[in-house]
């Protein structure tokens, strides 16, 4: 073994505190060290040339660079080693700048410590093994979970690059929450007018496949090679045969509260959730359909001219492979029934923002009239209460839902547009209108639409003579206020989907205390998760308005495409390795691995002359954290680059 040690002066950054010549001389005496020299700047071109020349002339086979932190130049010197004809993993860096010369003043002590740091590196490099980068192929297809605006946008962006995308949406139509909205702030574009063309575009796109009324059953595998089972729930209507003529639901005798219309309107047992649904193919709600409940009726089957109704249709499970996954599952509304003081459930005229959206919509259940659900009369005085569930650590979620200030302002405006005699009162904590033209919009609603903003909380709502009495505080005037309202609209916050945790566990991505999916880095990797190949977009990560959702959808798509376009994945070889002869198959490592990078595989035990299970590391997935090595009772699993031998060698060198 011939180790070359190269001590860098780093100008005077190192040499001012560390006697580099003395250090080099001391290190030169170590076992296996063939050469120990210093240079002003090892990372510079002449510095690297010096290393390469020394490797040739002294036929060195391992290198230690005593310089700055490996965070800065490990890659540089690995490349240099490779160019000199040495395996790039047969080098080590002794960090004698950040961890020594810059933090100590006394030269003698700093020199002693520098020598010690190099000694450790020499001991380690002597135990290094030549390693090779590995390459794993990538399945060139993206799975998008969720068909709301973020999923739709992601699919469109991916199709631009001519890569296939598959949307899995659990509702009968894509469109998500945005499809339920009336207008969008601050431009007052009608949500359907800007969303439905996108829905149609994506459904006609040859690179995009859409599975509606479908759920993710299981996800296995890893980046570049995910295997996903998708359950296509029985729609009872043949997607290929149906033309969307609507004869079936015109004939259906069963009326059920419409989920899409927030139960303010009715739908049939065979229905499309809304007129612009994509696909425009009905679904049979088997819980309410007379055929499924009592084996009677069958009207839809009789009327359908295309024979598209199939009562016997089973759930179908399909299996597909994907290289990347985009999670776009969105949000759900906060359940405000915990606020007894607001009387939700007790008073019909206390509704949520989403109810208001449906009422304001001209194709909604009230035909665009803002009414009191209790008696159908037009609402005159409407109280809006902000932060219902948001910013409430006791009863709700601690975070701000970001969109409620804006959608409430929009509602106050829409109210006035629908009924010029109406008056909006808004109880708020703070107005958060941080966005392009947002503050201006709120100001417009106050100044031009006469919405009265009251800074304070509502303590109680009760009914008196057919009106809702809203009792609250106006903290700016320091007075108690009572408003006789026709309608109260609660600005409920945005929270994680009820089954977000289940999905996170299936995908093996982390989530926070609010069950929102966690990005790989809050600032620098907002669209990625720590599980490589899985990306986030939209409100499943944190509450977002439409512009931010669309932006993150494009961000996630670019990240997914950046992965797919590589064709194959380069993987650092600093990963775990199993010695199957020693492995007892206890699975402790499988449980400890945060990345599901270890699986059990049947092997032929030559000694026992029979088959048994042993752990196997999936090279494409292992990130090299080493958790498995510490839990292995048989010392059968080790980490390349930080092996037990290497670390023990470092300790012994001290």
């Amino acid at each position: 073994m011939k180790i070359g040690v190269f001590v860098c002066h780093c100008g005077t950054n190192i040499s001012a505190t560390v006697d580099v010549e003395e250090a080099a001389a001391a290190i030169g005496k170590l076992q296996n060290v063939k050469l120990s020299v210093t240079y002003r700047y090892m990372c510079s071109a002449p510095g690297q040339e010096l290393i390469k020349k020394a490797v040739r002339e002294e036929s060195l086979d391992r290198i230690v660079i005593a310089s700055c932190s490996p965070a800065l130049h490990e890659k540089t010197f690995r490349k240099c080693a490779e160019e000199a004809g040495i395996n790039p993993y047969l080098i080590e860096i002794a960090n004698i700048r950040e961890h020594c010369s810059w933090v100590h003043k006394e030269k003698k002590e700093a020199t002693r410590k520098a020598i010690e740091l190099v000694k450790i590196a020499v001991a380690k490099v002597a135990r290094n093994k030549p390693l090779k980068k590995t390459y794993v192929p990538i399945e060139k297809k993206v799975l998008i979970i969720g068909g709301g605006i973020s999923g739709v946008q992601s699919a469109i962006d991916i199709s631009f690059a001519k890569y296939p995308a598959v949307i899995v949406e659990r509702e009968p139509s894509i469109g998500g929450k945005m499809a339920q909205f009336d207008k969008t702030f601050p431009t007052l574009d009608c949500a359907a007018c800007i969303l439905t063309p996108k829905m149609v575009t994506v459904s006609q796109n040859k690179y995009v496949t859409i599975h509606t009324y479908s759920e993710i059953e299981s996800v296995t595998g890893h980046v570049g090679d995910f295997t996903v089972k998708i359950r296509k729930k029985a729609r009872s209507v043949d997607l290929d045969k149906c033309t969307g003529c609507g004869a079936c639901f015109a004939k259906c005798p069963v009326k059920v509260d419409s989920e899409f219309d927030m139960r303010l309107g009715k739908r049939k047992a065979i229905y499309v959730p809304f007129p612009q649904a994509v696909p425009n193919v009905p679904v049979i709600d088997r819980e309410h359909c007379l055929w499924f409940q009592k084996q009677t009726c069958g009207a839809c089957k009789k009327i359908c001219p295309f024979g598209a109704i199939n009562y016997e249709m089973p759930d179908e499970i399909i299996e597909e492979k994907f290289g990347a996954i985009i999670v776009a599952t969105g949000f759900t509304q906060f359940d405000h029934s915990v606020y007894g003081e607001y009387g939700y459930g007790k008073y019909k005229d206390v509704i949520t923002g989403l109810h208001f959206e449906r009422m304001a919509n001209s194709s909604g259940p009230t035909g665009g009239r803002i009414i009191r659900p209790s008696d159908g009369k037009e609402a005159q005085d409407v109280v809006f209460i902000q932060c219902v569930g948001s910013r409430d650590e006791q009863k709700g979620v601690p975070y701000c839902s970001r969109v409620c200030c804006m959608y409430t302002a929009k509602h106050a405006l829409l109210l006035k547009e629908h009924n010029k005699d109406a008056q909006a009162y808004v109880f708020y904590i703070d107005i958060r209108a941080a966005g392009k033209n947002y503050e201006e919009f709120v100001k417009k609603v106050q100044d031009e639409y006469g919405a009265i903003y009251l800074r304070g909380r509502v303590s109680r709502i009760f009914e008196k003579k057919g009106k809702l009495i809203v009792r609250g505080a106006d903290t700016l005037s320091g007075s108690q206020i009572e408003i006789k309202a026709d309608l109260v609209v609660l600005a409920t916050g945005l929270i994680a989907q009820g089954d977000a945790v289940e999905l996170a566990q299936m995908l093996h991505i982390p989530y926070d205390q609010n069950k929102l999916f966690t990005e790989a880095h809050p600032k620098l990797a907002p669209a990625e998760t720590i599980t490589s190949g899985i990306f986030l977009t939209g409100a499943c990560q944190s509450p977002k308005d439409i512009p931010d959702t669309v932006a993150t959808a494009s961000a996630a798509s670019v990240k997914a495409l950046g992965l797919l376009i590589q064709g194959e994945l380069e993987r650092e070889p600093l990963i775990a390795k199993v010695n199957t002869d020693l492995c007892s198959g206890c699975k402790a490592c499988v449980i400890a691995c945060p990345f599901r990078a270890i699986e059990m595989k049947e092997i032929e035990d030559k000694k026992l002359k029979r088959k048994r299970n042993a752990a196997q590391v999936i090279e494409g997935v292992c990130t090299g954290c080493g958790n498995c090595t510490a839990v292995c009772r048989m010392a059968a699993i080790d980490l390349e680059g930080f092996s037990d031998k290497q670390i023990m060698g470092e300790i012994e060198a001290l």
Partner: protein
């Protein structure tokens, strides 16, 4: 006893504490030279035997430092480390080793000042614990 300079080994996770110690350097925060740093990918990589080996070799103190809870680069390695080494620490007294000799800390990549302060305190505490007589007979 006053001229006793302890020898301390610190195992630092690559992503948080090692980078935190780098930052202490970049910010030129002076601290005692008693601590020698060994880089590991994650605090979860640490096997208890590494700590015991150091102590048996005569190191006066051992430190493991990782990312703050919730910040682990590998999502949960530091949880494993925390649990594993809480157990080890509780056993040290039983083995006749002053538990002060083994410590854990959580230092992020942005906490160079915390790292420097920690080393000052650690060195003072190990000085109080006195020389480790193991392996020095």
């Amino acid at each position: 006893m006053t001229d006793f300079e302890p020898k301390i080994v610190a195992f630092l996770c690559n992503w948080c504490s090692y980078a935190g110690a780098d930052l202490a350097g970049t910010s030129r925060m002076e601290y005692p030279s008693n601590v020698t740093i060994i880089r590991v990918p994650c605090s979860g990589r640490m096997n208890p035997i590494f700590v015991l080996k150091c102590l048996m070799n005569g190191s006066d103190g051992v430190l493991i430092s990782g990312c703050h809870t919730g910040d682990c680069h590998y999502s949960e390695g530091n949880f494993y480390a925390r649990r594993r080494f809480a157990v080890l620490k509780s056993f040290l007294g039983y083995l006749g080793i002053d538990p002060r000799r083994f410590q854990m800390s959580w230092v992020s990549a942005s906490e160079g000042d915390k790292w420097a302060k920690l080393i000052h305190e650690l060195v003072a505490e190990i000085k109080e614990a006195g020389p480790n007589k193991m392996g020095k007979e």
